[in-house]
């Protein structure tokens, strides 16, 4: 179960875990430096980024045009399209589809949408076992754990922990780990290969998400590294893909933008090892039954928010996580949803509303430093949305919840203020974060010139806000971290 505690409390627990923090720091700093080098290779990066944002905006502003076109194209190519208004409906559709095959096991490609809706648990309740096949997701699943990063979900585990999890649990799920399993990455990967191959070779049903869906042609796109995706997409007889409605792009040609933006932003590669595309079904090649489940589950609510809507451009590259000083210390679990880090802080409260303490506190899980916006390949202004959501939590106002316009009251009993204060207290306990927040606030000065925005306002009114030095993020970063991390700089 995701933690239900508000972000500051969950984060405080995570920060106390020295090993977690060390693992995270190593990961985020390594990926960050590599990514900068990969991006620097393309002199037209900013133009690609602007085009990526514009294509997504075009799609979102005309989603009611593109989804029926997609449906038509997928159907014409031999697929079947289902619409799911919420998580429960999506889960029920998938359960029924699996049941209809007579199977009780499915192999899964890593997918945030299915994690968001809790599909594995829903299948388990109906006696269907879902096997995660991405190496990191396997580690998470065998460890009865939750993913903590979009791209490297088991980044909070080191090799010794992974070895122990494999040795202890693989046998419960299928082929046991080899005797005397060591902890080198190669040995661990080999153990996973043997364990999962058993599943791939016998599975009759595969479940996936998709990175993109092309409205014009009905083509689905899955981008991956390991080949487990290809296994799940081509070996089973039936393939079920659960995809958020915002993943549609208008034309085949639009992929030229996203297939350049995504790998470099995500894994810092010129291209990821494997990309699969399929259009409906193909005789004699791959599954002969294909189902596409189009998922709303709060996305149309986010769409109704003209400031927050831009969060739906997200292509889940995870670049914003790797530059976030708060994520680096708090880890992914503190965000309490499938979407951690800066994107989680703006997407989750929009998908779920701000009714729980956790969701109300997420817009405060940020130092507003702006680094996330700088790296985002589709130019989502995450700080702008954070400030907007903070105001909504504090002042209330008009929102759309499950498709209905509602006016929400200011957070009850100053809950939001408490959330903000806890966040502030937490930051004071962690000077690194606060320093980042203050200094980096220089960039977003216009957003909170003299006072903290949102509920922080009352707080900052009665206290002298530390002065915001006119130093940019980049300058601060280089000055305070540049030396220490020089071996990681591109």
């Amino acid at each position: 179960m995701p933690p239900r505690a508000a972000f500051p409390r969950a984060a405080a627990a995570a920060v106390g875990d020295a090993r977690l923090r060390a693992n995270l720091r190593h990961a985020t700093h390594t990926i960050r430096a590599k990514r900068a080098a990969a991006v620097a290779e393309l002199p037209d990066w900013e133009l690609l980024r602007a085009a990526g944002a514009a294509i997504k905006d075009r799609t979102l502003r005309h989603l009611d045009h593109y989804l029926p076109r997609l449906e038509e194209a997928v159907t014409a190519a031999g697929g079947r399209v289902h619409w799911a208004a919420d998580a429960a409906e999506a889960n029920r559709i998938v359960v029924d589809l699996v049941r209809a095959t007579g199977e009780t096991e499915v192999v899964k490609v890593k997918s945030m949408a299915t994690q968001e809706i809790g599909l594995n648990a829903a299948l388990a309740r109906e006696g269907i076992t879902a096997y995660e096949t991405d190496l990191a997701e396997l580690i998470v699943q065998l460890g009865d754990d939750l993913p903590s990063h979009i791209l490297v979900p088991a980044i909070h585990r080191n090799r010794g922990e992974i070895r122990d999890i494999f040795a202890r649990r693989m046998g419960d799920w299928g082929r046991p780990a080899p005797e005397g399993l060591g902890d080198t990455p190669a040995e661990l990967a080999e153990a996973a290969r043997l364990h999962l191959r058993e599943k791939f070779l016998t599975a009759k049903v595969g479940v996936s998400g998709a990175n993109f869906m092309v409205a014009e042609t009905g083509t689905m796109v899955v981008v991956e590294s390991e080949g487990n995706g290809r296994m799940c997409l081509t070996l089973p007889e039936t393939l079920i893909s659960v995809v958020g409605v915002e993943k549609v792009v208008p034309t085949w040609r639009d992929l030229e933008v996203f297939l350049q933006l995504l790998p470099r932003s995500s894994t810092a590669e010129r291209m990821n090892p494997y990309t699969s595309t399929w259009t409906g079904t193909t005789d004699g090649d791959g599954p002969h039954v294909f189902h596409l489940v189009l998922l709303d589950n709060g996305r149309t609510d986010a769409l109704a928010d003209t400031v927050g809507r831009q969060a739906l451009r997200c292509i889940r590259c995870s670049a914003c996580l790797n530059v976030c000083p708060v994520y680096e210390r708090a880890g992914g679990h503190a965000y309490g949803s499938a979407y951690p880090g800066p994107i989680g802080a703006i997407l989750t409260p929009q998908l779920r509303g701000t009714g729980t303490p956790l969701d109300a506190s997420l817009p405060y899980a940020s130092s507003l430093c702006g680094a996330c916006y700088e790296v985002c390949p589709v130019a989502i202004d995450i700080p702008e949305v954070l400030v907007h959501l903070r105001e909504r939590v504090v002042q209330g106002g008009q929102v759309t919840l499950r498709g209905t316009r509602t006016v929400i009251k200011p957070a009850r009993g100053h809950a939001a203020e408490r959330a903000a204060l806890r966040a502030a207290a937490w930051a004071f306990d962690h000077p690194g974060v606060l320093r980042a927040g203050q200094r980096l606030a220089a960039r977003t000065l216009r957003l909170h010139p003299r006072r903290l925005p949102g509920p922080g306002r009352a707080w900052s009114d009665s206290r002298a806000l530390p002065e915001v030095p006119a130093e940019s993020f980049r300058d601060w970063w280089l000055r305070t971290r540049g030396e220490r991390d020089s071996h990681e700089q591109p």
Binding site: L47, L135, I155, T234, M271, T275, D285, A304
Partner: protein, 235 residues
């Protein structure tokens, strides 16, 4: 109301700020980004492809049409491959020097001739009735490709007769991919998409299967082929 109608109605209500008269084409998309990153001669393009493939730890070889059968036989022999999976439409002369005969993949273990170092890998022609388990018992696979992208070091397979179904280049542990240069090589991702037919199932391959999930150490081949040999064949 069906969920389809419900979701579409929610979308329309969510978009009341979008003027009724606005069409998708009214939302500007500036495509001023580059079609290619650099002007190259055909030879430079092929050299860049080779360089980027090698950067992904694919093993790159160059030959001409006359040298291809010998090179393929040598690569398979070096690997100790006893069986080699062949798409139904692979040009027959490619494997002219690689063993002989065809057979069932299931017999790969016991019945195969000793192939190690002798260039006698037995051909296993792919067919619909082959089970994934049979494919998993095969040592190597040889395919052609549809297009290769120099700037990213990517091979794209589109299920053409010399490439076969998507699974053949996935299940065996060793994949040898033959690229005809320069005509199958383009500079960039946009140029590749132009050449490809979205109606066909496509597999884009950039180096061997890899994971960085364990402490960010790159490990080759968790699930897909651990070794990728690419042969660039000049006309």
């Amino acid at each position: 109301m069906s969920s389809r109608d419900l979701i579409l109605a929610r979308i329309r209500r969510a978009l009341t700020d979008v003027p009724r008269s606005e069409t998708p084409a009214d939302v500007p998309v500036d495509r001023g980004y580059a079609r290619t990153h650099g002007e190259r001669t055909a030879a430079e393009r092929v050299a860049l492809l080779a360089e980027n493939l090698a950067d992904y730890r694919a093993r790159v070889h160059r030959t001409d049409a006359a040298g291809l059968p010998g090179l393929l036989a040598r690569l398979l022999a070096d690997r100790g491959a006893r069986t080699v999976l062949v798409p139904a439409g692979l040009p027959t002369d490619w494997l002219a020097k690689t063993g002989s005969g065809t057979g069932s993949a299931s017999g790969a273990g016991a019945g195969a001739e000793p192939g190690s170092g002798s260039g006698t890998a037995r051909r296993v022609v792919d067919a619909a009735e082959r089970t994934p388990r049979e494919l998993a018992a095969v040592d190597s696979v040889v395919t052609g490709c549809a297009v290769a992208i120099a700037e990213t070091g990517t091979l794209v397979l589109d299920g053409g007769p010399d490439q076969g179904r998507r699974r053949v280049s996935l299940v065996p542990d060793h994949h040898v991919c033959v690229v005809r240069v320069p005509e199958q090589v383009v500079d960039s991702v946009p140029q590749a998409l132009d050449r490809l037919d979205p109606a066909r199932p496509l597999t884009w391959i950039s180096g061997p299967s890899a994971t960085s999930d364990i402490e960010l150490n790159r490990v080759e081949g968790v699930h897909g082929p651990r070794t990728l040999d690419v042969i660039l064949v000049a006309d």
